[in-house]
Subunit: 431 residues, 3 copies
């Protein structure tokens, strides 16, 4: 069992622990989830009081649910929050009422085109209550009087999020962010939460040029809170990724930052191209996850989004079918591997200078070149050596060279090391 498989299994196990918890943009479910993450990482839990102004927004009241159900005309529970927290419209106000089927239906949400699944719906900023259920069940509800209970509270409290800062050699930062506001949905976003948790653990063990910041935040309002409270710090962010949808078996999707050609964009595209799996790279759009906030024009940070299947593109998305059987350890592990390789590029990218720039140096006398000439099947390593020598004129970084040569960054980096050892190359600057 290789390292990738192992970490995938560990990631999956963490997702299993987090899955049952009812999370939202505020409330105890988020805190319980963060406490679990603290078993893995010494992250800080921040609390932002309800009512705090954050740019154009205000931190909402805190929402908590004790129980919620619908009883049918026969008095039996037909929909129960205890069974699946997706049944309750997120941020439902407390209610206890008897009402007719038609009155009830105004508060029911289903997916006619996917009649077997419970949809995930919320109403954070408009007061409402409601239940979500399979369309097939909704269709079969008999006439009669129903009883509804939402035993929730929506009160002054605070919004909690987790933050883990791992200092490196420099203050320059790489930002990773995962939204933590979704209830029992596995791919969206226990996959992202697990991946960042284990990525942080991996980075703890490594030498780090960059400092790393991991955010486990409620979507939208959490990102806005963090940005409002850390506006000054954003100038240190050199690269960033929003992590989500990383456990399904689909191909990868990298969505570029608003800048479009930032180093993170090039690094992610390069790694995916060489990963040998289906992938697509798409341009920034101002819709999606928290890259919307990080890439708002007043910040315009070099933050992309790296998922497998993109949001809204698969039938399980935002339904009860996005459960633990939809994500797979091996997919989580592969996603982890891609993130790790992107970090390798960011950490390792640098500009070198060929100390022998006029004509090629004689590689053979240094043991860097095959002795028998004439054969035309020069090896990748030899060609990579020649590429590094040819382009290391002070204007090309290793990633530039990897892109232009078509070789993976790892090989370019490795042969650069050999050339430095041989005294033929010197590092000019980190990128």
């Amino acid at each position: 069992m290789d390292g990738i498989t192992t970490v995938g299994i560990d990631m999956y196990a963490l997702a299993e622990r987090l899955f049952p918890i009812c999370r939202s943009i505020t409330g105890e479910g988020v805190r319980r989830s963060l406490r679990i993450l603290r078993e893995y990482l010494p992250l800080e839990v921040r609390e932002v009081p309800s009512g705090t102004p954050v740019f154009d927004w205000e931190v909402p009241r805190e929402w908590n649910v004790r129980q919620a159900w619908i009883k049918g005309p026969d008095g039996k529970k037909i929909v129960d929050f205890q069974e699946n927290n997706l049944h309750l419209l997120g941020y439902s106000l407390p209610v206890r009422r008897r009402l007719s089927l038609s009155e009830l239906k105004a508060h029911l949400y289903s997916l006619p085109e996917q009649p077997e699944v419970i949809p995930y719906r919320t109403s954070y900023y408009q007061e409402n209550w409601g239940f979500c259920l399979p369309h097939r069940q909704l269709e079969s509800l008999p006439e009669g009087e129903y009883e509804v209970l939402v035993d929730s509270s929506l009160e002054a409290g605070s919004l909690a999020y987790g933050e883990y800062y791992l200092p490196g050699e420099t203050e320059a930062e790489v930002l990773f962010s995962a939204h933590i506001c979704h209830p029992s949905l596995a791919n969206d976003n226990l996959s992202g939460i697990s991946l960042l948790t284990f990525l942080a653990r991996e980075l703890q063990k490594a030498a780090r040029r960059y400092s790393y910041r991991f955010l486990f935040i409620p979507g939208t309002i959490g990102a806005i809170c963090w940005l409002a409270r850390n506006e000054e710090k954003t100038r240190l962010i050199r690269h960033g990724l929003v992590a989500s949808l990383l456990g399904d078996p689909g191909g990868f999707t990298y969505k570029r930052s608003r800048q479009g050609n930032a180093w993170i964009d090039r690094a992610a595209e390069h790694v995916l191209k060489h990963q040998g799996v289906p992938c697509q790279v798409i341009d920034f759009t101002p819709y999606g996850y928290d890259e919307r906030q990080f890439c708002s024009p007043g910040f315009n940070l070099p933050v992309g989004s790296l998922t497998r299947s993109p949001y809204g593109s698969f039938p399980e998305y935002h339904t009860s079918a996005d459960n633990l059987s939809f994500i797979r350890p091996e997919c989580l592990g592969e996603s982890f591997d891609v993130y790790r390789k992107i970090i390798q590029v960011l950490e390792g990218n640098a500009v070198y200078r060929n100390l022998n720039p006029r004509c090629e140096p004689q590689l053979g006398k240094r043991g860097l070149y095959d002795a028998i000439g004439g054969a035309s099947d020069a090896k990748a390593r030899q060609l990579a050596l020649l590429w590094v020598l040819n382009l290391s004129d002070g204007n090309h970084s290793l990633l530039d060279i990897a892109e232009r040569s078509g070789y993976p960054f790892g090989l370019i980096q490795e042969v650069s090391g050999l050339l430095v050892e041989a005294g033929l190359l010197v590092k000019v600057e980190d990128v």
Copy 2:
């Protein structure tokens, strides 16, 4: 019946009135045509005397025709200018001669590959006379003595053209030009003349940021006359289109200005892309209509050419088959609609600034966003709102945003208005 259909019918009716007149680069036919246009628009008729030097050229003598025919060996008219003014080679010198068939044939023009139609031919700058006729007729001419009459005059006079200037809020101009020198050819260019006439009438009624200039000019020499007499004014021209071939059922062809990426080029390409009809956009070439002069290197004006089927690409081109049955009211109307939308882009394009650039503003509290979250089918209008907010950083115009988002300019413009009303956006400058 919608507005587009109505204007198409009106445009067709104007083309019908103009069709029988024998126009050329000079002569009474042009003046008669301009008098008809004056019933629709208060255009100025300018006269430039023969012999006036205009750049490298000189205004030619004025050509008028009273009658022209060929009589066969039996004394009967076999070709008659009265029946179709295309029969006479444009600018034919006066002649009255008897001559053999072979002598006659040196002055006859036909199209062997289209034996049923009369070709359109001219000889403006080399003295000559001639007749054009269907190849089938030419082939069947018997041996014998023919009589030829061209009762024309080629004398000092003047070149007439029409000009209509419609002032707007600023002196910055949009130039529209149609050539008016072709005899009984419907698509080329009664379609262009009609379209500009009705476009001017439409613009009279509208608020206008730009001033508009409409030229109804003989091809080449007319454009050269206008440019020579208005050299100073050309610095005010911000955008321009040469209008022709706008009544046939073919797809649209936009030919870029010599600049290649002027606003008119982008506006035309954008509108055509969203029009939902077949279209092509081609690069500038120094051949075609009067864009040749407007885009000569000494002027290099941002003037493109927008036709349906391009010149020379359809068999009816420059033949008697380009008649009133070749053009259609609905095609004229659709062309009008495209021109009008391009003007909408030019008039409406501006740079706005997001007043809340750090993170997204809370659209929900302003009624600009759906209340129920979770559904992944965000509406075009909501996405357009997000695009405008995201890119309105002072560096992107509405057309930039429309191009990058893939939404039509009209929608981008509309949501920009909503955002201005909501106090979230402010106009920085017109483009």
Copy 3:
């Protein structure tokens, strides 16, 4: 028989004379070859003593071979350098030994996937000896005692190369280089040697804006020698081509210079595009022939490589099948034609200015335009005239105009000449 065919036959005849000689990076074979070339061109033969330091390298000892063979267990010669000089591993040390089959096999080279041919192999910089032979023969060798003789010398001497400098109106240079170190291989590189020889003879007869330098040098070490001894002169090199693999019937391959968009890159791509034969244009890679040295980062010269089938892409490459029956006079002639046309572009490229930039000049009155208007099949020559007038604004060279218009450089150059004669155009500067 046209000129191209004639020169192809002459080129082939020269290749025939050079074919039997055993060349290497040093030795008498190179000098004999250069003496033959001196019958065609007054080239200088330079000698660089063994041990001379040249950048990171050192000129190797001189290698000469008197005889070399393997005798089988029965005492008969089974492999003989006299029969084919490819049999001997290049730079084999002297040896006379009796040895078993398995000891012998450690010194034998063959191509299992091409069992009938002798491969070409060398060991310039690691002391070794060996023989090359068809794999089928190697497989059939019986057990027993073999006798091996390599009667070679590897001693202080010198490296010889040929250089021919043809001065032109200016000191600015065009560099042509062919490697001369391969033994009996026809396409690689008697084709390149022959082509440059006859190209130089052609250029001797022509007016030349540029000076031309032709190098006949051993691959790699020869280029390094020349660059080390002529470092100052390289600043005069404006364009260059490495010539090789020019006699096979494959399509052309132009490999761009490291600069990627140098004039030579554009000229070569333009000529090939209009040659009407299969061709490909590929980006620079730091592997191949002596463009590796000319394009090393400390020189970064505008030197591309123009071959037919690229190195390593055809089965005959570096084997005994690359013989005189693999190359063809008509292919050599066609390659010559392409090189000549590229020179025509380099020599003729210039920026002109339209003296009548506002509107088109009246071409008709100067006899440069068809008299009868209306026909839509304007001729290439007329369109080319219009392109030159339109783009000659001081910012476009003739090659720019050829590229943008799609017409071949020759036509653009020809009509420019007509316009200069007509007083409509003036040359601003050579490019």
